[in-house]
């Protein structure tokens, strides 16, 4: 099903050519983010990605968060405990 959603994401993303993608996990956002990054590399879309980690994540990130942390443009967390471990992240209330 990951492959199917990947293909579907290609279809959607190339039609929309997003300037901005907002995700809040879970892993379902991975295909879309991967495709959007591909489009960025190909110069076909601006594809800025903002990932918002779950409010439940206080001390460590979800798997999706860990995978996407190095890649996305903005990484948003809700708890200051995470800022130390993940200095690129930003806090919202």
């Amino acid at each position: 099903t990951t492959i199917r959603s990947f293909i579907r994401s290609i279809y959607v993303a190339t039609r929309v050519r997003p300037d901005l993608v907002l995700c809040n996990g879970p892993g379902t956002c991975l295909p879309i983010v991967m495709v959007v990054f591909l489009l960025r590399i190909l110069g076909m879309a601006d594809g800025n990605v903002v990932f918002v980690e779950s409010f439940c994540r206080v001390r460590n990130l979800s798997l999706t968060g860990k995978l996407l942390y190095p890649i996305v443009d903005k990484f948003v967390v809700h708890w200051p405990e995470l800022l130390q471990q993940y200095p690129r992240s930003q806090l919202v209330s």
């Binding site: 901005l20 903002v50 439940c56």
Partner: protein, 161 residues
Amino acid sequence: GVEQISDDQQHDSSDDNARLVEGVSCSSYRFKPTLRQDMEAADLIISHAGAGSIMEGLELCCAANGGRIKGGDATASGDVSQKRRKKLVVVTNAALMNAHQSELADALEARGHLFVVNDPSELLKEETLRQIEKFDQIPFEGGDGGADFAALVDNHFGFEP
């Protein structure tokens, strides 16, 4: 003292059975479209530690909601008109996914926003109930409706507020 309990049940097959248990009127139900009304009316909310329930409970405990305890407690400060704040008690379920519920519940408890109980049986202990009674909850003033998130995204694109 407690006067009224209203709870939603998971396994009982009978719906809507109001009864009197040791002088406390209890009612229970299996499903309701929303628990908000019950939660608004309550002085004490005992909930499972699911994230959504916690967030809803915290919201109700802060937004100008200080349930006046009816009748007043003679053993308390003696001031019958004392307005006490709504309290939130959550029960974590360690059997779910590496006890992930505790991460959020404990963090909020450390900040004084709710009271954590780690097993339903603890609620039967008098010691726990005394602690809950003494617990002075700090309202959770988080969540500004996403204004700072919007600002963050605007900022990324270089838009000035």
